[in-house]
């Protein structure tokens, strides 16, 4: 439970960072248009103050950014093997994490570069179009938004899994940064009913002491990984999907055609050659502890998240869910902006 003083501090930090965004005074500027108020006047700053802790995006680590800036990516455009090189290197890199355990990862022999996990998800939806798609409440809002827009048959997992369902679940769970309390039940249900399950390891590299999973469960057909939440390369849309059986879908057709995004694949390969998978966990865990204590948040198993009171509960009456009615993650604080702007916050005596 946060004290009034801590909630007040959260507000102060939100407004100060929002104003600093408008005045171009952040230690580490944002990379999305919504991070830039049009001016430093009240209404623009107020709007930005509501999104300081939003999104699940990666920590903008200066060392990673400097490294990315040093790369010459265009050479990858003519390297017809670059995607294969990345796909070959990725499983060993992801398996090397010391803060989680993936048992039987080697059963997933089919590794595919994905233009963000969204490409993998779209292909999953398409190949399960005759199924009823299922997710837990609080999982990635994009699924539900797309299903609604495209007219898919879908339902939250509020009751038992039935034959004819197809499930997706993030691990750690997107809303809480922990394993969903019914995740093991879900795997057991999917196995029993012969239902396909996609496990989305979106936050895995930034997690610690959350994931210990046996991937040999029959129902787990596909697993996905994203770099967008691991390294500050969100806009390069780098992700990987791994399957037990070779897929036959549009994404695989494109990959077989050798027309993947080579700039992104080359960038991804350079990143995994340079940084260990748990780089962010070890670098920022002390920061997570500091800010969670300071702001009265509960640390999650994902190093850039803390849980607390809804940070939009005050001063915001409408459009509290960014982009989608299904985007309900206002109790999950992305602490990345606090890590990135330590110097400014110290100067303002808000650290």
């Amino acid at each position: 439970m946060q004290t009034a003083e801590q909630i007040n501090l959260i507000r102060q930090i939100s407004w100060a960072l929002a104003l600093a965004s408008a005045e171009d005074r952040l230690d580490m500027p944002g990379e999305f248009v919504w991070a830039y108020p049009n001016d430093a006047q009240f209404w623009e700053v107020r709007a930005r103050s509501h999104s300081i802790f939003s999104s699940g995006n990666a920590i903008k680590d200066p060392a990673v950014i400097d490294f990315v800036n040093s790369l010459s990516l265009s050479e990858h455009l003519r390297d017809c093997w670059i995607v294969d090189k990345f796909q070959e290197a990725f499983p060993e890199w992801i398996a090397s994490g010391t803060a989680y355990r993936l048992h039987n990862l080697d059963q997933f022999q089919y590794v595919g570069f994905s233009q963000g996990t969204q490409e993998s998800f779209l292909n999953w939806y398409m190949m399960h179009k005759d199924k009823r798609l299922r997710v837990f409440r609080g999982d990635y809002w994009w699924h539900m938004e797309i299903w609604q827009k495209a007219g898919f048959n879908w339902k939250y997992i509020d009751d038992d899994i039935q034959p004819g369902d197809a499930c997706i679940c993030s691990l750690p769970f997107a809303l809480t940064g922990q394993e969903h309390e019914r995740f093991k039940w879900l795997v057991e249900q999917c196995n029993r009913q012969g239902v396909d399950l996609l496990v989305d390891f979106i936050y895995l590299p930034n997690s610690y002491n959350v994931v210990d999973i046996d991937l040999s469960a029959d129902c787990i057909k596909e697993i996905t990984f994203s770099f967008s939440k691991t390294f500050p390369v969100q806009t390069a849309k780098i992700a990987v999907r791994m399957l037990k059986q070779k897929p036959s879908d549009p994404m695989q057709m494109s990959n077989d055609e050798n027309i993947c995004n080579r700039l992104s694949a080359g960038l991804a390969l350079s990143l995994i050659q340079q940084f260990p998978v748990d780089y962010m966990v070890y670098k920022y865990r002390a920061q997570q502890q500091h800010w969670c204590e300071r702001l009265g948040l509960t640390p999650t198993g994902v190093v850039h998240f803390g849980l607390g009171e809804n940070y939009t509960a005050t001063g915001r009456q409408q459009e509290t869910n960014y982009l989608s009615q299904y985007n309900e993650q206002q109790n999950r604080y992305n602490l990345g902006m606090l890590y990135e702007n330590q110097n400014l916050l110290k100067k303002l005596q808000l650290y």
Binding site: R11, Q12, S14, W15, A16, A18, L19, A20, E23, R25, A40, Q41, F42, V45, R46, S49, T314, G315, R316, Q317, L348, L350
Partner: protein, 157 residues
């Protein structure tokens, strides 16, 4: 306090005086744009725009119809960077003959336009809009948060 005024439809060099409280900011022929940096204390303020020196010959009537008339209109009022927008209508024009016209931005007869507000203008804008529309219950604490952030970053409000 910074004040910007924008006038339109200015006909035949009308004379005006612009005041904040008793402080005269301008006296002369009305221009399309006026900008002032005013030393004003916190609290109640009145913006007054006086239209004067209009004589009967400045109104030309032909066949009972006014064909030309010295006059002007207030188009925009910006205080400390905040456009008052609809709040500029919460004003009155008091003609020299004693007639009072509410929400009148047209300067036809001699007389004075009066707009009462408060310094700082932002707090007044937020409070007034909420009082009229009942749609911003958190205006006061958000205003305070904004002021604190401005102070922290040494930015004027």
């Amino acid at each position: 306090m910074k004040i910007q005024l924008q006038f339109k439809n200015i006909v035949d060099d009308p004379r005006c005086r612009i005041l904040i409280n008793d402080q005269v900011l301008f006296a002369g022929i009305t221009q399309p744009q006026h900008a002032f940096d005013v030393d004003a204390s916190e609290g109640a303020c009145r913006l007054t725009i006086v239209h004067h020196d209009k004589a009967p010959e400045h109104t030309i009537v032909e066949n009972g119809i006014i064909v030309r008339d010295r006059s002007f209109e207030l188009e925009r009022c910006v205080i400390d960077g905040y456009d008052l927008q609809e709040l500029v209508w919460h004003s009155q024009f008091v003609a020299d003959d004693g007639a009072v016209y509410n929400s009148c931005l047209f300067f036809g007869p001699n007389g004075e336009f009066q707009l009462d507000f408060e310094n700082p203008a932002l707090r007044w804008i937020l409070r007034t809009r909420h009082e009229k529309n009942n749609n911003d219950p958190y205006w006061a604490e958000d205003y305070e948060s904004y002021v604190r952030a401005c102070r922290l970053l040494n930015k004027s409000i």
